[in-house]
Amino acid sequence: MLLIADHLSYKYDKLNKKNVLDDVSFSINKGEIVSIIGHTGSGKSTLIEHFNALNTPTEGTIYYDGKDIFEKDYDRKALRAKVGLVFQYPDHQLFEETVYKDVCFGPTNLGLDKKEVELRAYEALKKVGVEDDLFFTSPFELSGGQKKKVTIAGVLAMKPEVLVLDEPTAGLDPKWREEILNIAKRLRDEDGVTIILVSHSMEDVARYSDHIIVMDHGKKLLDGTVDEVFEQAEVLREASLDIPESTAIMRLLRKEGYMVNTAIYDADSAVREIRQKIRF
């Protein structure tokens, strides 16, 4: 187990009685793609900011690689290189004159020498598929999807072991969504990076995840494999979340007595499955 949340609770201030996070515990394995899903205000963004110690829990703690990251002498700056966090809005991060310089910011902060920094920046940009001719343009002239790629590269250049993506698909069209999620998958498959996706939409991330954690009002509602979580459709509905439509259809067909596979999360596979299993 790479990352363990141990009875984590968090409040904005001591006077406030409301817990933003309330006794949350789970563990994440190395090389998994984990999705943390919840509605707005469920505490998912607050939760992930604990992973690299940007937030300090009111109670409980987090263990990374077997060590308590909120222990007094733990090197939290080094942790931020190991657990890379990409925020939702690229505009909150991009600031340099060129794309390339911006990606260099992270590794430079790690105190690496110039050659190493430039090599890492180059590799990171290549990895996310930014074309060479964009390297020296201003990051502010890019499209939303390109900006997103550059921000991911900016964090990747620090060579994280865990990459946390907060709402990676928000505000992107379907083509870009697919592309960004494929980058995440490729990073896991080729480099063994553990991926944590944060989203409010099952539809988006179900296909890519090995493990889903559902948050609701600061509490952990469900935790398990995709199938295990979708099994609990009723519970999800109560948290104003839904299983993907394709999955819902497959489950209905199953209920009606058709022997179809219910572990299907997108329209294309649903169509294929129905064609194969049901003869009219």
């Binding site: 904005y12 201030d13 900011e49 940007l54 990409v86 902060n109 790690l110």
Partner: protein, 275 residues
């Protein structure tokens, strides 16, 4: 982190003072300030103190909130009091080393202490009991006559309320940007001053870009709703005097007259004694 900063110091509760029209409160504060400078006998200050206490009790704001403003001027207050105490010419009470404490100096120092304290507490009542937007409305209405000398009062007020509206938005954004850069290993606690200033560039650039973008969006949104300056604009909540305001104005007048009468009486007495 930055979330703790709240704008102004509005204390949310219900009281007769909170319910007053902002114009009444602004004018009342002005009357009070003028009275502190115009009248400086013991008896007028006693009345000023009584008036202050009455308003504090009516406002239902805890006194410690009023005294918070005192912290900011503590140094200034100390210097003023010491300056007056030691450097006023007159009849010496006692002296040590190079300092001469005179009876006039002592009086002046005490007067200055109370004047500044009353000033700070008096003005903080205004900001504690009036929301920033209400305050802007009140100022706009009071500055209305300045239109005659071609000062764009409505535009200034609009700028003020927009600025007030965006302070919390930009504060939150700064917080988010700081977190995003920290996640990339940025260090804002550097001991070296030059390096620390430099470390704020990654925050300032995104912040400015977003502020300009927001300004642009807002301008477009205002344009789309045919905003064309302050002329002939009506208000959603027009300012209206209520019974309480007239009571407040009467009290202000009574306060002014009493203080003036006492001053005249004291001066008349000293004049008679001399004669």
């Amino acid at each position: 982190m930055l979330r703790d900063i709240t704008l102004g110091q509005y204390y949310n509760t219900k009281s007769v003072i909170h319910d007053l029209d902002p114009r009444t409160k602004i004018l009342g504060t002005m009357v009070y300030m003028v009275s502190l400078f115009a009248f400086n006998s013991f008896w007028t200050y006693l009345i000023a103190f009584a008036a202050l206490c009455t308003v504090i009790v009516l406002s239902k704001v805890p006194v410690r909130f009023m005294l918070r403003g005192m912290k900011a001027i503590f140094l200034f207050l100390t210097i003023t009091v010491l300056y007056n105490l030691f450097l006023t010419q007159g009849d010496t009470i006692f002296s040590f080393w190079i300092f001469n404490v005179t009876i006039q100096g002592l009086k002046q120092a005490i007067l200055m202490f109370f004047r500044l304290t009353f000033l700070v507490v008096g003005t903080s009542i205004l900001t504690l009991t009036t929301t920033p937007s209400n305050l802007t409305d009140g100022l706009e209405s009071l500055m209305h006559p300045l239109k005659w000398i071609r000062i764009p009062v409505a535009e200034i007020a609009m700028m003020m309320s927009i600025a007030l509206r965006f302070i919390p938005v930009l504060t939150e954004e700064t917080d988010k940007i700081m977190r995003a850069q920290k996640a990339r290993g940025a260090d804002f606690d550097n001991k070296n001053l030059f390096k620390r200033i430099k470390s704020y560039v990654p925050i300032l650039v995104p912040l400015f870009i977003s502020a300009f973008r927001r300004a642009n969006d807002l301008a477009t949104a205002m344009e789309a709703r045919a905003y064309r300056g302050g002329d002939g604009r009506t208000k959603m909540k027009p300012l209206k005097y209520k019974a309480g305001d007239w009571i407040a104005y009467t009290s202000m007048l009574l306060y002014g007259i009493t203080a003036l009468a006492i001053t005249v009486l004291i001066n008349f007495q000293t004049f008679m004694l001399k004669a």
